[in-house]
């Protein structure tokens, strides 16, 4: 359990960020003012589910089901903690920070 990521948090993208499939990169990317982050497969799958509606617990369940696996919770929480730190995502009306 990552102390920084409450299980009932409902992550959504920071408003400066846009998530999309980029054909030229053959990858999901995050676009933001004057920059771009190319995402690996798992980051893309997690961010795709950050819609502000799903809780972290629901995201974990959904990803484990989609990929027919278990034990993803730790990795997902660690990613979300990093993403929150960078301002890519935020949750539960917390103050949106600059990245």
């Amino acid at each position: 359990m990552n102390a920084k990521v409450p299980a009932d948090a409902r992550p959504r993208l920071g408003r400066l960020f846009r998530f999309q499939w980029e054909p030229a990169q053959k990858a999901y990317v995050l676009l933001y003012p004057e920059g771009m982050v190319k995402l690996n497969l798992s980051a893309g799958e997690i961010l795709q589910r950050c819609d502000g509606k799903r809780s972290v617990a629901e995201m974990v369940a959904n990803l484990e089901q989609s990929f027919a696996t278990t034990g993803l919770r730790g990795d997902i929480e660690a990613f979300l903690a990093m993403a929150e730190e960078k301002g890519w995502v935020n949750w539960n009306g917390g103050v949106e920070s600059a990245s």
């Binding site: 408003r15 846009r18 980029e22 054909p23 933001y32 003012p33 004057e34 103050v95 990245s99």
Partner: protein, 375 residues
């Protein structure tokens, strides 16, 4: 060694016009902008946008001059956004009225960067040679209303760098999320005025200390970027993150450039987007290939262990200072011509102390027509 095929561009910067209501003495636009040809039409810009996106560019910037002087910005943004570009508008705010902002929002504009010149009416109006201070504050409030994060850019120079504390305070009052405090790039009009614009090492040190204090206080609520002036660094900056590797700029009159100031360089035929397609310009033109990678580097760069880091620095700066665009950027302490930088710093100190007087040259079309030289 350079790779067989260069990467595709990530950035398209559309400098849609050289016209500008402001007259900033630090502007990087070419000093002979008044001699530029007719501006691209809306259709021509749409063609450029489509080609760049097809090549893989993902960031689209609109700047100028003041882009809002054109009435088709909403159209260009709409097309770019619909093609998947992240769209950035770089504006002084002059002309960004509420109806236009509303239309830009509908068109899908992602981001607005507002330029500020100083924190007081007097200083703002002096450096821009206009009365625009209140207008900028009003535009900031308006962009917030339309749910845009407030991203402010303020160019620093000798006359405003001592106001950094007040500038940051103003940004906080305006609710800015990002503040970029960028020292003047000495290009174009900024080069003409560089001895007046250059801060002292002491001014710079104080401004950085003030900035650091604010950073501590503000934490994550506002991010502050501080860009030191090139002349006061001992290592050059990697020109455009690699010449012809990331960035593609198109001038108001349709010249494709690897950086927004490259049209000052002599000995090039600048490719015109009205005559060539963007992909052949990017991959095949002499302009985009001349300084690509590191194979072309002269000594001392060629045998330098930092060459991959900086690619020998800024080509325009090398040309402006040494007359040779292919020279090592004299900003580098290892450049045999680094003395040119010391001379410039000494001259600037004399201007600051009043030993030497240098009139400020404001950016306007009349002066531009009078200035025959390319920089």
């Amino acid at each position: 060694m350079t790779s067989p095929r260069p990467p595709h561009p990530l950035w398209l910067l559309a400098e849609v016009t050289y016209r500008c209501p402001l007259h900033c003495s630090f502007c990087y636009n070419p000093v002979d902008f008044a001699a530029a040809g007719p501006e691209l039409t809306t259709e021509e810009w749409l063609g450029v946008i489509r080609q760049a996106r097809a090549m893989g560019a993902a960031q689209f910037g609109i700047s100028g001059g003041e882009p809002m002087l054109r009435d088709d910005i909403e159209l260009l943004v709409g097309e770019a956004r619909q093609l998947g570009f992240y769209t950035n508008l770089i504006t002084s705010g002059v002309g960004l009225t509420e109806p236009r902002l509303a239309a830009l929002k509908v068109a899908g504009l992602d981001h607005i960067q507002l330029s500020f010149q100083d924190a007081t009416r007097e200083a703002n109006d002096l450096i821009t040679n206009t009365r625009t201070f209140e207008l900028k504050q009003e535009v900031t409030r308006l962009t917030k209303e339309y749910d845009y994060p407030t991203v402010i850019n303020c160019v620093l120079h000798a006359a405003n760098i001592d106001h950094v504390d007040r500038i940051i305070e103003m940004a906080v009052e305006l609710g800015a999320e990002y503040l970029e405090l960028a020292n003047t790039q000495y290009h174009g009009w900024g080069f003409l005025n560089r001895h007046t614009l250059m801060p002292s090492a002491e001014q710079l040190r104080r401004a950085e200390a003030v900035t650091d204090k604010w950073r501590e206080r503000l934490g994550k609520t506002m991010k502050i970027f501080f860009v030191a002036p090139d002349y006061q660094e001992s290592r050059p900056k990697k020109c455009m993150n690699g010449w012809g590797e990331v960035f593609l700029s198109v001038t108001p009159d349709g010249l494709a450039l690897p950086c927004h100031t490259a049209r000052m360089l002599p000995g090039f035929e600048f490719p015109d987007v009205r005559q060539h397609d963007l992909a052949s310009i990017w991959y095949d033109s002499d302009l985009f290939n001349r300084f690509r990678g590191t194979a072309w580097l002269p000594e001392p760069c060629r045998s330098c262990n930092e060459k991959e880091k900086d690619h020998g620095g800024c080509r325009c700066q090398a040309f402006m200072l040494t007359g040779n665009a292919g020279a090592t950027d004299p900003v580098c302490a290892r450049s045999p011509q680094h003395g040119l930088i010391d001379n410039a710093l000494e001259l600037a100190a004399k201007v600051r102390s009043g030993q030497l007087s240098q009139p400020i040259v404001f950016r306007d079309s009349k002066t531009s027509r009078q200035l025959a030289r390319a920089f």
